[in-house]
Amino acid sequence: MQDLETIDTRFFSAEREADLDVVGTTVPRVDARAHVTGKTQFYEDVSFPGMLHLKMARSTRHHALLKKVDTRPAEKVPGFVRALTHKDVPNNWYTILRLIGVEPNDEPVLPEDRVLFQGEQIVAILAETAEVAGEAASKVKIEYKDLPAVFDVEEALKPGTPAIKPHGKNYFVYEGHHCRRIRFGDVDQAFKEADHVIEHRYQSAPIEHAPTETTGCIVKPEGNGRFTIYSNTQACYFTLDNAALIVGLPFNKLRVIGGTVGGGFGGKVDVTVEPIAIIAAMLTQRPVKYAYSREEEMQVSSPRAAERIYIKDGVMKDGRIIARKVTLYVDAGAYSRHSPYGTTKAAAHMPGPYSIPNVWVDAHCVYTNRTPSSAMRGFGVTIGDFALESQMDRIARMLKMDPIELRMLNAYRDGDMKAHRKKAEGCALVEVMQKAAEMTGRKLPERFKKMSSLKPVGSKGEGI
């Protein structure tokens, strides 16, 4: 097989271990042939006699009280087996990251008296076929009393906006603080000293993971009190532990079999399908399948959070950025899921790969009445990079500087102190820019060609 990327070993050659046998070589993927010939077994290729199918009756409202939930019309559909409500869930309230100490439990497996987003699951319907389950679910009669809905992150934080969450606040609380903070140096003083102050607002919208294989699982009761969960989760033990806590079984009564997934991108680290499917299998003692349709994958499964980011920079005429103030809002949607973690990651990522002596960050994890957002490839960083690197381009244009040279002047290098007070090591931002400049035929001035991430200890380095 051809190695399609050039590995340029001129960089950091002294740090590279030269003689490896297998690592660093292109061996063919062990599963490629089976994947493309349809021989790979995914969770859905497992099937058991008597298997039931689970579909959800879902909220048609963004924010509403549940006045009445009537499953009787669903029960009349031939093939209907059983309906499940919150009363059937042993420990209904959870939050996925409680496994690493995050609280409070802010999400019900099935809602009790209210729904917080359109598409929220309300009643689980079990039936002999997926079609019947879907038809019966559509017949569940739900009476709502609409409540005011909040869709904008800054609106959600305004005094007077009704709290949509039981803890009385439309934001996640970080050790007593209303946001995740970074405080490094003195930005206000630096803005006074700066030649220019430049401030802009950036925004993204929610993004779907769009995996080839939608989220799903099959749960089989084993007859010895244990349950086997065939799942396409990205994290088998995360699923096992969260599911056991919700269904009220000892951890060792559950077994997760997975490991082969048709695309995750972060969309399969929520634990949304397994717990209710386990409860269904416990109550019926039959195998149960719960798989998202494409529509559910698009509108109900967690997307990448929308973010709103304000960046205010203090810049000197020579290109040095001496202050960066970032106010960032992560739209968590209705429930926490992985967003409190992603918001901390977003704060840690600021001010980007640059050494800026004064940094101030307020990163808010905000609840709104939309589909809960959660993990997605690079969350906490991807949208921040869009904002940061758009801002860098604007600074370069304002100063009439080359955009690569501006970045090199400010690039973080070994030994620099990051805003979260960890010393930088293993840096290579300068080098990827040198390489990209070379590949695009851009001739860098000598001082930038000679620049290195390996800043000698004690020196202030190249440039300014």
Binding site: R29, R183, R377
Partner: protein
């Protein structure tokens, strides 16, 4: 009407490993009597090729051929704990656990080989082709499979190893944000070339030139697939994708792939990429995480190229033709 060309750049870094640590993963390795080694995990392959790369790392450390190492994953009854495949942690965490397990297994393998050859185990080397021999004397050798058989049937020993990797959990100082969030940082720079149709607002990405620093490419072809797939996702994020096109308005949510826009095969840009390797001191054979980062630098590079082409600064993703056109109208009305 004209097609306006522009060029933009973006440079990024990306943290390897679960934010703030506290995310262990384990690996177990044992030799079978068939001449193979089995690496047992509960880790998940999302399609990125984890099963292949983990076998490569195991084979490298054991000193045996790649095609004699199997990865058995993921069954929580048999595989030891893994936190999961996310946060660009798989290769780093699980790879380190495998190295630790493979070193323990290799030590037993060499001890048994030394007994069989009546030499000092410190004098033995593996040839990576299925033999163990005295350093400098390839003729004084024994096959790995015969070592495995001797260990089991003659010496009553298991050739096996246990491995774990864990970065201890870092608590954040809430007032200042002081923390130790990551294990390493990977880097990328993208130069995007675009063409903007000033009549329709449509953007075509002509070329993406990328330089990535990823510690060490474990498998160059698979690094390539991450790069191409990630850059494609970045381009898609920049120009097409959202479940809420008029966010924060909830209307117009797509329900399937005919409504949820993504670039088709004809929209894929020409891509030229290079890899630079600065091994991470704490990475398995220097590896950093590449998976998530590859989507990031193309987004702003494309946004900046659009500005370069037509003078419109779109501050919100995705950069749809509608937004570009509205920006052009505003410029014209000035």
């Amino acid at each position: 009407m004209a097609r306006l060309k522009g060029r933009g750049v973006a440079a990024v870094n990306y943290p390897t490993g679960m934010n703030l640590g506290g995310d262990p993963s384990q690996a177990l390795i044992h030799a079978t009597t068939t001449g193979s080694f089995v690496i047992t995990l509960s880790s998940v392959d999302l399609g990125q090729g984890l099963k292949t790369v983990m076998a490569q790392i195991g084979a490298e450390t054991l000193g045996v051929p790649f095609d004699t190492v199997w990865v058995d994953t993921a069954d929580t009854d048999t595989g030891p704990h893994c936190m999961g495949t996310f946060a660009s942690r798989g290769t780093h965490r699980i790879g380190n656990a495998i190295i630790m397990a493979a070193r323990e297994a290799r030590a037993v393998m060499l001890d048994v080989a030394a007994e069989e050859l009546e030499v000092d185990p410190a004098d033995l080397v593996t040839d990576g082709k299925g033999k163990i021999h005295v350093n400098g004397s390839p003729e004084k050798a024994i096959d790995v499979i015969n070592v495995a058989l001797a260990a089991h049937f003659k010496y009553g020993k298991t050739i096996s190893g246990r491995g774990i990797f864990m970065k201890p959990k870092s608590d954040v100082v809430p007032e200042t944000g002081e923390m130790n969030p990551d294990s390493a940082q990977a880097h990328a720079c993208t130069v995007a070339e675009v063409e903007v149709d000033d009549e329709t607002g449509e953007v075509r990405v002509l070329k993406l030139t990328n330089a990535y620093e990823i510690g060490r490419a474990m498998n160059p072809a698979m690094a390539h697939q991450q790069i191409v797939g990630g850059a494609w996702m970045g381009m898609s994020h920049a120009l097409y994708e959202t479940t809420e096109p008029y966010y924060p308005d909830r209307a117009h949510g797509p329900l399937d792939f005919s409504e949820y826009l993504m670039p088709g095969p004809g929209d894929i840009a020409v891509m030229e990429s290079a890899i630079i390797e600065r091994p991470a001191a704490n990475g398995p054979y220097g590896a950093k995480g590449i998976g998530e980062m590859t989507a990031n630098s193309p987004i702003a590079a494309i946004a900046n190229a659009i500005f370069d082409a037509c003078g419109v600064r779109v501050e919100s993703m995705p950069i749809t033709p509608e937004k570009v056109l509205r920006g052009l109208d505003e410029l014209r009305s000035k």
